[in-house]
């Protein structure tokens, strides 16, 4: 068989797709050893020893680490430690880290297996959370949406989420949305974090003395001496309370205003260490806490203040966690300030990653079986092994091209995308059937003419498919875009790359 330039083109594109799917800066993806360090707690012992997220961990104390189970096993002796330290040797791609660590190390590092390909699966398969946020009873402008995204990004960063993407999306009715996607596990209070306007006000009586955001607040303490839980106690038979406290700095003008307001407040007669009015903290117009004001702050323009609050729970541990969470929330809005409108979460999906794993495997095997089923029908129809195998090879090439494209674009392959691949395969097989049948039809036309007829049919069908898919880019907040993208890429690659090559092959096969 003579190999035409069209066939060479298919080979070249398939090869390029292989490279895109299976090769990254560290070499061939499925041959890489070790696990990926996804996160290391800031200022932990192991962090200070040099471990950072993004490094590849090869072994612990000489034991090679290939998968999650190896890692858990290698760390198990450390989890049993009680108030003592033990030496650990971590070998990463960049070097060796030796340190003395305690049992906390187990919680300080999070790891993930290195993915076998560069194809990223969507949240609905791999698990994670996705939220669509928009303003309540208000149409956001494009720049307002940018502001919303900037503030949300800052709020989520405070929570230390690494695998996070925020993007804007508008739909065909002119609504604008912020789409937040967090892979893997996400904070429990994500909804509150995203949906809150985040208006923080500190009031004394009816006077607002300061508000959240950079205008009034120059510094928010978040760790060490500046922030923490300082007291836990049992408040009733079934409830525990933990108190938190963190310090903030306010700017000079705000401090002067504070002095102005407190100057005239009389001292509380029954509790003479404090003033007779409290300072009240409001979060989104809801009173969250009231603090007594110490007498020495009366009329003082001190820029140092302390914010306090509490958390409750059925056990001390729960109360502690609750207090920690409330503290973080308050710190977040104090840093980022308020949005000028109320927000609404119009859609939120949290997909468990566990189902995702089994599902991916099933989808792959379903793909293979469906492929075999189609092969069987094609073989039964033509009874010619050569042409059937070539047809199926072409289908595989097209699937590779779709996957290669999505790896190249760094796109997330979600369920809609998988449906799109299936649609593209269906169209691909259909078109090849047309080519083969057209080429074998009647001998009164030249082979070239017959192939031309086939390509005409294919092109007309292609144009209608494009026409019917294109509205999906805009409708439904673009959530079904994945379908349109994969099927369009598939049929386009088909029409312009694989079909002409296939026509050449059939041309040669049928002429002999």
């Amino acid at each position: 068989m003579k190999i035409t330039w069209r066939m060479w083109l298919v080979f070249a594109v398939v090869l390029a797709c292989f490279l895109v799917i299976f090769v990254n800066q560290d070499g061939i993806t499925f041959m890489q050893k070790g696990v990926l360090i996804k996160g290391v707690e800031d200022n932990s012992t192991i962090f200070n020893a040099g471990l950072r997220s993004g490094q590849i961990l090869l072994s612990i104390n000489g034991e090679p680490i290939q998968k999650m189970a190896d890692y858990t096993k290698a760390l198990s002796p450390y989890s049993l430690l009680k108030n003592e330290t033990m030496k650990i040797t971590l070998t990463t791609k960049t070097g060796e880290i030796i340190s003395l660590v305690d049992s906390d190390i187990v919680n300080q590092i999070s790891i993930a297996e290195i993915s076998k390909t560069r194809i990223k699966t969507g949240l609905d398969i791999r698990g994670g959370a996705r939220a669509l946020v928009t303003a309540k009873d208000y149409k956001l402008s494009d720049s307002e949406l940018d502001d919303l995204i900037a503030i949300s990004q800052e709020r989520l960063n405070i929570y230390g989420l690494s695998d996070l993407s925020i993007r804007k999306q508008s739909d065909s009715s002119g609504n604008r949305y912020m789409i937040v996607e967090i892979a893997g596990s996400s904070p429990k209070d994500l909804e509150e974090l995203l949906g809150k306007q985040g208006k923080f006000e500190a009031k004394i009586g009816n006077d607002t003395v300061f508000q959240g955001g950079k205008e009034d607040i120059t510094y928010v303490g978040r760790s060490g001496q500046d922030a923490g839980i300082y007291q836990c106690s049992q408040s009733s038979a079934t409830q525990y309370v933990c108190m938190f406290r963190f310090s903030i700095s306010i700017n000079g003008n705000t401090a002067d205003h504070y002095a102005q307001v407190t100057k005239d407040i009389p001292v509380n007669i029954s509790n003479p260490g404090y003033l007779s009015k409290t300072i009240d903290f409001y979060l989104d117009d809801k009173l969250t806490d009231s603090l007594l004001i110490s007498v020495d702050l009366k009329g003082s323009s001190s820029t140092q203040h302390s914010i306090q609050g509490s958390g409750v729970g059925a056990t001390q541990q729960e109360a502690y966690e609750d207090a920690k969470m409330n503290m973080k929330k308050l710190q977040t809005v104090l840093i980022t300030g308020s949005l000028p409108y109320k927000l609404e979460i119009v859609k939120i999906d949290r997909i468990s990653p566990i189902l995702g794993d089994v599902f991916t495997k099933t989808i792959i095997s379903a793909g293979i079986v469906a492929f075999l089923g189609v092969s069987l029908i094609v073989f039964l129809r033509y009874r010619r092994i050569k042409i059937s195998i070539i047809m199926l090879g072409i289908v595989l090439a097209e699937v590779l091209m779709i996957l290669g494209f999505s790896a190249l674009m760094n796109a997330n392959l979600d369920l809609a995308g998988i449906a799109g691949i299936i649609a593209a395969i269906g169209t691909g097989v259909d078109d090849q059937l047309v080519i083969v049948d057209e080429s074998r039809r009647g001998k009164d036309e030249t082979m070239k003419q017959r192939i031309k007829n086939a390509l005409f049919i294919i092109f007309a069908a292609f144009a209608t498919a494009v026409a019917s898919l294109f509205p999906l880019f805009y409708a439904g907040a673009g959530l079904l875009k994945g379908f349109a993208i994969t099927s369009l890429v598939g049929i386009t690659a088909g029409v312009f790359i694989t079909r002409p090559a296939f026509a050449d092959i059939v041309n040669q096969l049928e002429e002999h």
Binding site: G127, E344, I351, V374, R441, A467, S468
Partner: protein, 365 residues
């Protein structure tokens, strides 16, 4: 031959009409299009037990069982038209556990967003139909003048369907002007040029007032033009329409609730349906020395293989991934039903129209 499909389409339409009068909608919509929450929980509590516990608080609750390969229950899929927080706390109380990422997945869509999705997807579908019809008409239609008219009308429909998408607006304006000038150059008679100018002025006005109801006169106008000027085009369009109508009727009979993915399946169906029709039309109309029957039969042999491979692939995938109860189930089911009807509509109805057209055209020549 033609009578059976016509009766079936009429029956389907009558049933959908009846369904509409009962439910005030063309089909049942699931929570992704109406708003509500669906929760998947790993639990061994049976669906009926859980339903008994929750049905007083959630009268519209729907609970389905998900099982593994051996048929053992692994998860329950709970769907309610309510807010997320309400059902989550009720489930936590009923099952006495805390819902976490390890044991559950939750999807919530607000009522407004669901309604928006629904209307946008329906509008997108109508527009896809118009666009597809235009492509078919440009491919198979004979009157060049009418191609200019309908192309401009379809671009106006694009503006009406996506009034706020500026990229489409700019595209539509540029293309309308391009078509207009090219049309002035191509169309020889004065009357045609005047009509073209009329359409340009009309769409210019509509561009500033893109009210959605204007889509209906445009749709009607292009359909009348296609019917009058190109029987093959209208046959292709009718066939795709019949596929969808019959499939919707069956989907309703099965009691399925359509999700946003289901609507995508209908879009896919249009694409597949057109494939076989284009094949048939091309073979019959562009044949050289063959008899019409011979050409149609050749097309049938190819077309039936096309449909069968697609149905086989979809059914196998459906069978294997069914237990996950994902949106793919619905997509595959709808496509399988639709492709089945497409075989019927293409090779009973369409083939008849095309043959009739080819024969009368031959007589004219």
């Amino acid at each position: 031959m033609l009578l059976i499909p016509v009766i079936l389409v009429l029956l389907s339409l009558a049933y959908i009409g009846y369904f509409y009068s009962q439910n005030n909608d063309f089909f049942h919509r699931d929570v992704s299009l109406t708003g509500g929450t669906s929760v998947t929980i790993a639990t061994q509590v049976s669906a009926s037990e859980l339903k008994a516990m929750l049905s007083s608080e959630f009268p519209d609750i729907d609970i389905r069982t998900l099982s593994d390969n051996s048929g053992k229950q692994t998860h329950l899929l709970i769907t309610v038209p309510d807010e997320k927080a309400k059902i989550v706390s009720a489930l936590e109380k009923a099952l006495n556990l805390t819902l976490t990422e390890e044991n559950s997945s939750i999807e919530f869509t607000s009522g407004n967003l669901g309604k928006d999705f629904y209307s946008q997807l329906l509008k997108a579908m109508l527009f896809a139909f118009l666009l597809m019809a235009l492509v078919i008409f440009i491919t198979f239609g004979e009157s060049e003048k009418i191609k200019f008219f309908t192309a401009m009308l379809t671009l106006t429909a694009a503006k009406i369907t996506f009034p706020t998408v500026s990229a489409i607006g700019i595209f539509a304006v540029l293309f309308s002007l391009g078509i207009f000038f090219y049309g002035l150059f191509k169309i020889k008679e004065k009357q045609g040029k005047l009509i073209l100018l009329g359409i340009l002025v009309l769409s210019g006005i509509i561009f500033f007032f893109p009210y959605y109801f204007l889509i209906w006169p445009i749709t009607l106008a292009v359909i009348v033009l296609y019917t009058y000027y190109s029987a093959p085009s209208i046959a292709v369009i009718t066939c795709a329409f019949a596929d969808i109508v019959m499939t919707v009727a069956i989907v309703n009979l099965l009691g399925m609730s359509i999700s946003s993915g289901g609507i995508v399946a209908f879009l896919m169906l249009i694409g597949y349906s057109v494939d076989t029709d284009v094949l048939l039309t091309t073979r019959v109309l562009r044949r050289k020395h063959e008899s019409i029957n011979h050409a149609a039969f050749g097309a049938f042999k190819t077309g039936i293989t096309m449909s069968l491979t697609a149905i086989a692939a979809v059914l196998i995938a459906l069978f294997m991934a069914y237990r996950f109860e994902t949106v793919l189930n619905q997509i595959f089911t709808i496509i399988a039903i639709g492709l089945f009807f497409d075989i019927f509509n293409t090779w009973c109805t369409n083939v008849w129209i095309i043959k009739w057209f080819a024969e009368t055209r031959k007589a004219e020549i």
